[in-house]
Structure formats: structure tokens, C-alpha cells
């Protein structure tokens, strides 16, 4: 009897011990399956974006061998931008700007050579489509790398980190992928809110002149109640964001503005309403920070106040075709900029920068 109880107890201990290992193995297997599913979604998104880019480029490259075009695009999506070293941070922004400009121009000329029948603005949209495929390719490869490493070492902790981050990454991937259709059709996306505000101002008040002092970026001078208003935006309707810092410098060489107003899309928090317009102080420009730095430098040097008008939206909305809520926000944004301009003294000048991708928004 006593012997039976001891055997039972021993069996229980062995079972519990084996179970603790088995549970961990099961958990690893469950997370691997989950991460594999997410990776499948990202891989499919990359394939769709790549196919869309290839199809769109082929529309304008009838004279070229489709296989050659396809191979060139496969190569283009593998290109990398290498940030300059920060060992000596002096002049880092200038170096970064140089690297980005070289990358941008090279990609544009490559795409233009693959699509000889495309107009300049169609080339810009094609560049964005290739860029989307490139971003998704980079995300997929990076995550796949972490997944394979975690799987090779059967590291539960690495897998758990990947699994925890995946829902957020998937949200971003869906947002980026949502842009494909908008760029194919050349229609405004949520991020076009800033350029759209600028375009509405230009149409409402009439322009005295429009110039393009820097490639793909225009400045329009408006006569607004005895004040000189300089409105800056990407040229459009092709997908580009322009080079605002250089154009602001161009304006400052000619006049000393009383204020620089940047209008941009801003990410809203969960629970906030899309299309809500809020004020801010500073330069509302995202991305690498190169242009933000340039404008801040000039504004500080000449003591020019910096105001910002932000149109709130979710990340998915920023990259997909513009939603009605954001469109209403754009209309409200125009009114807010008008209020700011109305408060300026007569005879003064101001700069309004419509920040964002100007796809589908003509000058």
C-alpha cells in the first residue's frame, strides 16, 4: 500500500516535470505559428505592392522588355539609404540631406528610364509605388530575419517580443499598402491635407505669381488684405513632398515674414476624432527632420515666430485615400490659417507651408 502511494507520487512528479517542458514547447509552437501567420500577411502585402509597381511601370514602358523592367524593379527595391556617420555630429543634417537627395534623384532617374512614356508627375507616382514596395520589402526581410534567428535558437523571449510587436507592425503595413491604390489613381491621401490647404488658399485668394525656385516645390504669392502671403507646397499632382526649407530660405532672402505657419497631418491618439484641427508652436514637418532643422535654424536666426496647424488622423488614414473626416478637417484648416493671417498687422508678410505628400493636388 505504502509502496503504491510512493510510486503514484513519483509518477505525478515526473508527469508535472514533463508537463512543464511540454507546455513551454507548446507555447513556442503556438507563438511560431502566430508569427508565421503575421509574416505571411506582410509577405503578401510586399508581393502585392511589388506587382502593382511593376504593372504600373510596364504601362509606360511598352518599348522595353518586360522581363528587364521586372528585374530592374526587383533590384531597385533592394537599394538602401545609408545614413551618414554620427561620430562627428557637426554638419550631420547637411550630410543626411545630401545622401537623401542623391537617393531621391537616382531613384527618380532610374524609374524615368524604365517608363519613358510617363510624364514627370506620373514618374513621381511611380517612384512612390516603387518606394512603397521597397519599404514593405525592408520590413518583411527584417522581421523574417528576427523570426528565423528566434526559431533557430528556439528562443521563447525573442519570439514573444516579435509576437507582441506584430499587431502594431501589421497596422503600419496595412497603412503603407493602402497608399498603393491612391498613387495608382493619383488621388489625395490623408497626408496630402497640408498641400490641399495650401492649394485651397491659392484658389480662394488668387495668385500674383507662382514660381518653382527648387525642384518640385512651388511658392505662390497671394495678395491677402494688404498682406503678402507666400504659400509653399510640393508641385503636384505627382507624389512628392517638396523641399520646404530651401523654398523658405528663398522667401526669406526677399522678405522678412512676420510668421511661418506650417500645416501638416498629425497622428491622432486612439479615442481622438479624425479631422480635428489643433494649433501648435514650432515646425510641423515629420520625416528625417532635415527640413524641420533648416526652417528652425532660419526662424531662430531671424526671430520669426513659428506656428503650426495640425489636422489629426490615424496612421492608416494618413497613407490611404483621404477620408471625408480629414477632408472636412482640411476645410477647417483653411479657416484656421485665415484667422491667423487676419491677426497679422497690415503690410506684413507671412509664409504658409502646406506640408505633406502632394499626390493628386495640382498647383
Amino acid at each position: 500500500m505504502n509502496g503504491d502511494a510512493t510510486t503514484n507520487m513519483l509518477l505525478w512528479i515526473i508527469a508535472l516535470f514533463a508537463l512543464s517542458f511540454l507546455m513551454q514547447e507548446l507555447q513556442i509552437y503556438r507563438i511560431i505559428t502566430e508569427v508565421e501567420n503575421y509574416l505571411g500577411v506582410i509577405r503578401a502585402a510586399r508581393e502585392r505592392a511589388l506587382l502593382a509597381a511593376k504593372e504600373q511601370v510596364r504601362k509606360y514602358s511598352k518599348s522595353l522588355d518586360p522581363e528587364y523592367v521586372s528585374r530592374r524593379i526587383d533590384k531597385l527595391i533592394e537599394t538602401r539609404i545609408i545614413a551618414p556617420t554620427s561620430l562627428d555630429p557637426f554638419g550631420l543634417v547637411r550630410k543626411l540631406k545630401h545622401v537623401l537627395l542623391v537617393g531621391e534623384r537616382t531613384l527618380e532617374s532610374e524609374v524615368a528610364s524604365l517608363a519613358p512614356a510617363a510624364s514627370p508627375y506620373e514618374v513621381q507616382n511611380l517612384v512612390v509605388l516603387v518606394d512603397i514596395a521597397r519599404s514593405l520589402n525592408e520590413v518583411y526581410k527584417l522581421l523574417n530575419h528576427y523570426y528565423l534567428v528566434a526559431r533557430r535558437f528556439k528562443s521563447l523571449w525573442l519570439l514573444m517580443q516579435l509576437s507582441a510587436a506584430m499587431p502594431f507592425i501589421i497596422e503600419e503595413v496595412r497603412a503603407v499598402e493602402g497608399a498603393v491604390e491612391a498613387f495608382r489613381k493619383s488621388i489625395p491621401i490623408g497626408d496630402s491635407a497640408g498641400p490641399l490647404v495650401a492649394a485651397f488658399l491659392m484658389r480662394k485668394y488668387g495668385v500674383q505669381y507662382v514660381v518653382e525656385p527648387v525642384k518640385d516645390t512651388i511658392v505662390a504669392k497671394l495678395a491677402y488684405g494688404g498682406k503678402d502671403i507666400y504659400v509653399i507646397k510640393g508641385k503636384g499632382p505627382g507624389g512628392n513632398t517638396g523641399h520646404y526649407d530651401d523654398v523658405v530660405a528663398w522667401v526669406i532672402q526677399r522678405t522678412k515674414p512676420a510668421v511661418i505657419i506650417t500645416v501638416d497631418a498629425a497622428l491622432r491618439y486612439e479615442g481622438e476624432v479624425s479631422g480635428e484641427v489643433v494649433h501648435g508652436f514650432g515646425v510641423a514637418i515629420g520625416g528625417t527632420g532635415v527640413e524641420k532643422y533648416g526652417i528652425e535654424e532660419m526662424a531662430t536666426k531671424y526671430s520669426i515666430p513659428l506656428y503650426a496647424v495640425l489636422i489629426k488622423m490615424a496612421e492608416v488614414e494618413a497613407l490611404s485615400a483621404m477620408t471625408e473626416e480629414v477632408y472636412r478637417g482640411v476645410k477647417e484648416g483653411v479657416a484656421v490659417v485665415e484667422e491667423l493671417l487676419a491677426s497679422l498687422p497690415g503690410g506684413s508678410s507671412a509664409v504658409v507651408v502646406g506640408v505633406g505628400n502632394t499626390v493628386g493636388v495640382p498647383p
Partner: protein
Amino acid sequence: MSTAEAPHPKRWVPTYIVLLASLLVLSAALVLQYIRTGSDSYLVSAAFVAVIAVYTAWSFARLITLKVTPKSLVTLLKCSSCGHEVVRKYREGDMLFSEADACPKCGSKMVIEGIFLREEKR
């Protein structure tokens, strides 16, 4: 509109219904067996199946209360003469600030004032 439409979650509704019905039938059969035989193991099994059924029902309730609002791409046109506004479905080639259809009120050309996604009324 997007090329990557996520599959509609409500495609799982039939699966949930079949699963829930099976679990309820199984649970009821186990309770009947317990009543007939008086064996505790049937009661334990019935309780176990009932717990799974409750969890399935809870997941099902969450799924059917899930709201998915479809959106369609529309073009907003504004008459340059009388200011009359018309919203119609987006057509391939529509471009912001370009002239489009004639105004239904005064016959003047209308200008495209906006292209955006609008929630479809159900």
C-alpha cells in the same frame, strides 16, 4: 478600394454556429447520460463542454457585434457659378480642381473640389 482588403471577419459566423450547436448538443447528451447512469464522470465532462460552449458563445457575440463600415471613393463637385454641390461616385481620371460635369441647376461647368472616402450608408 485598397488592394489589400482584409478578409471579412464575419465569414466565421457559420463555423461558430455549427461549433456552438455541436457543443450544446454534446453537453445536453452528457447531462442526460449523467441522469440515466448517475456517473460523476458524465457530469464533469458536461461541465467541461459547457465551459467551452460559454467561451464560444462569448466569442460569437463579440464577432456579431463587430461593426465594419464599408467606404467608397466619391468626388465632390462644386458649380463655379451658383455654388451648388454634387457628390457622385469617383470616376477613373477625376482630378482635383479640373472641370467635370455640368451643373444640374444652372448648366455651368462644375469643378472637382474634393476626392475622398465616404462611409456607405447601410
